[in-house]
Symmetry: C2
Subunit: 164 residues, 2 copies
């Protein structure tokens, strides 16, 4: 049950895209992500949270360089997947805490979110795995987020990994 946070990482070469109100039925996620794959676009985070009245939203992130191409793909499949709207934003950064045994430790996520809240940083997207909790924040909040997480998790400077 030991939790080990090995570091904090920030990636500013990120853009996010959201697809709104797609019918929540089989085949929709497939159409969208197969189309992106066929255009050779690397997708990093894929986040789909919860349905409302038979519709769902799907968000994902790509590198900033791929944003234009990705939006083109999404526009192409938009009617095919029945999306009511699209939004995208390159003014974002992905900030992550990386560790081991995160999931078995209830306090980690709350502590990460508390550190960001105290720094008055709004959390746009959240995605978790056993070894990583990633959030999307405004791009210019990335450094401030890193410092807040460092100090909250008592990480010294050597553990700091800034990706870009």
């Amino acid at each position: 049950r030991e939790m080990i946070i090995s570091g904090v990482a920030a990636d500013k070469n990120v853009a996010r895209i959201a697809v709104f109100d797609v019918p929540d039925k089989p085949g929709i996620a497939q159409k969208l992500f197969v189309a992106l794959a066929e255009a050779n676009i690397n997708v990093d985070m894929i986040v789909q949270s919860t349905m409302r009245e038979e519709y769902n939203d799907i968000s994902f992130t790509v590198s900033q360089d791929d944003l234009y191409k990705a939006v083109e793909v999404v526009e192409k499949v938009k009617s095919d997947i029945g999306a009511k709207g699209i939004a995208y934003d390159s003014d974002v950064a992905k900030v992550s805490i990386v560790g081991a045994g995160m999931i078995t430790n209830p306090g980690v996520a709350g502590r990460m979110f508390a550190a960001l809240a105290e720094a008055e940083i709004n959390i746009h997207m959240i995605s978790t795995s056993e070894i990583k909790i990633s959030v999307i924040v405004k791009k210019d909040a990335a450094e401030k987020a890193m410092r807040a997480l460092h100090s909250s998790f008592w990480l010294d400077q050597e553990n700091r990994q800034e990706v870009s």
Copy 2:
């Protein structure tokens, strides 16, 4: 750029909770997850996709045994975080493909979603990391999902990891 899928896993001891229309401002995620941590509830997936008109939804999963306790916590903080509604569901399973280098391979997610769509399995939630793509599906679809993913990714029976 090599993609290696090492296996498919299914976990049926899962329940999901969604919190709807919380104000999209700092401190909301903190309140919710600190409260869950203080009640000693292990949270597995946390998924927050995209804001709509200053509001956001947050979904997360817990073990089935913790659902009742988790819902109590969410009800307690509901007005504090300004949530307009709550939904929860224990009739779910988490199905994951596990590998290495997933993110650098555009085709993996699309192929996973295509396999599930072909098996007519609806995808409720999606969360990704470099080594894992997890979806939430209906509980009774778990085995069918496993078989579909096995056959789509050419995994023989030894690679199959059924968690519970």
